[in-house]
Symmetry: C2
């Protein structure tokens, strides 16, 4: 007996949005619950007080799978995404080298969060709503938010959140799934946003940095549709981030800026704006081989970029796979 | 016995947002439910395919009340609102005259919907969520959305929606309030958005039009922070709108554009983009004298710009008054 058709999805990052969109397209009512003020998770854009916008989380996305390609083509046609034609190189001990594998890199337009906004525009999304506990009953799920407001019933529940948070929310009641996911780590990442007063004069727009403390630096303003002020995003390595995880953001920003001069071999130059953001759950290590997890008995599913692949494309395909698992499950 | 502290607010226009913000500031948990994809109601901004943005609903706001002034000053300091310094005149039968009363006019920055976005940024808002029915029980309210998902319980419920919709949602069960509000009409308004290929050459930026079919025309791009393409918003009168209420939007757009040449005395010129939007509930006629309605027995409140004043300021003050009534009601 399954009288309740609707699906609740906790987490409105790429996986949750893709899952909800695919379910809704198949005629299933869906509601998303997101603890932060906007959708997109790490596909994020932050605006500084100076008005400049930085993609401080996910930097770009690539396309391998045919279904994702079709989606990306739609975004490009709608002006929601575009190719990033900046010059991207490899940087190690001051030596610049070309990347071996040329690959198309896409970004949201006019900012990375445009993709998620577009996916969410027709979905029921509950923002600034932290789900504190979930309750399973005969034929569905109820959710309680941090204001003690209940939402439901939902016939099925999807947790599109990091595995550690899923374990916590289910009170370690995931059965066989638990062993599968408890070792999946999402490594943290300190991101620095810096706006220079004048153009920072290096012969590239972004670099995969093979030198501590960075893994990546990028001229945000080399992406299409961005404003012209010279804005850069710097990503610290998981190792450096872990060592400085609880340090205040302004200290981290200053320290990493110092390192930036060193790693790029440039002398310090005037900065118009500087900020840092800590991503506590950023980069999946050893993602699961399967694209999504669905327990038909519990009517509970899990998805995310830690399922199937550590990329935006992986998160999208994980969400789609989650929706398909639900659509194919016995009612 | 009032164990449930939280308040549910249906409608995330200015009144609902102001009410929710004031309650949350007083420590009351609040959840907003909004049927459309974004917050702000008529404080709206629409982007055409060409990428131009139009404030197609509320055009500006004025400030009389001290509390609203304090709020507007905060918005201006934060870069969320600014003075509109365009030249605004009166237009009648081709004759331009100056307005008698000079008054400061403010707009959202960079678009009218910025105000609502700012108010909503820390509030729990459930978007694309149509509340279909409400249920009163011993000490609270439950809401059912169009997906048959329940939300609640809320100790008190606020309907920040047009009176006709409030009557419908309560199934005409508003007691004495019903007689008070059933005659309040929100007149409709057809709004046309037109982008000219070159600057439309008239010696003003906006006009109160005293000639059918318009009441108002404005150069949207004369507002601060807008892009520079010459975008205009035209508002048809309630009378004309009612006569053409069910006409297709593209027909309405073409017809009103023809009238625009006539009313402004200009010859037709090339148009880059043209669209029309129908506001079914736009302009309160004979608003209520009181700022808000709260029935402590039903634990149900109503607010909106049809309570106390037909302006953005009126909607804000109505929401604040609603919050105060709730905070002062016996628990």
């Amino acid at each position: 007996m399954d009288r309740i058709k609707s699906v609740g999805v906790i987490g409105a990052g790429m996986a949750g949005l893709a899952c909800a969109g695919a379910l809704q397209a198949a005629g299933i009512p869906v509601a998303l619950f997101e603890k932060s003020r906007g959708v997109g998770g790490r596909m994020a854009t932050r605006r500084t007080e100076s008005g400049s916008a930085f993609d401080h989380g996910a930097q770009y996305f690539t396309v391998r799978d045919l279904r994702f390609r079709q989606q990306v083509e739609q975004w490009c046609l709608a002006g929601t995404a575009a190719l990033w034609l900046g010059r991207i190189i490899r940087l190690e001990q001051g030596v610049i080298s070309e990347l071996n594998e040329p690959i198309d890199r896409y970004v949201g337009l006019p900012a990375m969060n445009s993709i998620a906004k577009s996916l969410a525009s027709k979905l029921n999304v509950n923002l600034n709503c932290t789900i504190q506990s979930i309750h399973s009953f005969d034929d569905g799920w109820g959710l309680t938010d941090s204001n003690q407001v209940l939402h439901g019933p939902f016939g099925r529940l999807v947790l599109a959140i990091p595995p550690q948070q899923a374990i916590q929310l289910t009170q370690a009641n995931l059965g066989a799934t638990q062993a599968l996911i408890c070792d999946i780590e999402l490594a943290p990442c300190w991101a620095v946003m810096v706006q220079f007063e004048q153009r920072f004069d290096v012969p590239y727009d972004a670099a995969f940095v093979h030198q501590a403390p960075f893994t990546w630096v990028a001229r945000n303003s080399s992406k299409p549709g961005r404003d012209t002020s010279d804005c850069w995003v710097l990503h610290a390595s998981p190792e450096w981030t872990k060592e400085h995880l609880e340090q205040p953001a302004d200290q981290v920003a200053g320290q990493l800026l110092d390192e930036f001069w060193h790693v790029t071999g440039q002398s310090p130059q005037p900065v118009a704006a500087l900020a840092a953001h800590r991503w506590r759950f950023a980069i999946p290590r050893k993602p699961l081989q399967q694209r999504s997890i669905f327990d038909p008995k519990q009517r509970l599913g899990l998805c995310g970029d830690w399922c199937g692949g550590p990329r935006i494309e992986g998160a999208f395909l994980s969400g789609i796979a989650m929706a398909e698992a639900i659509l194919n499950s016995p009612s």
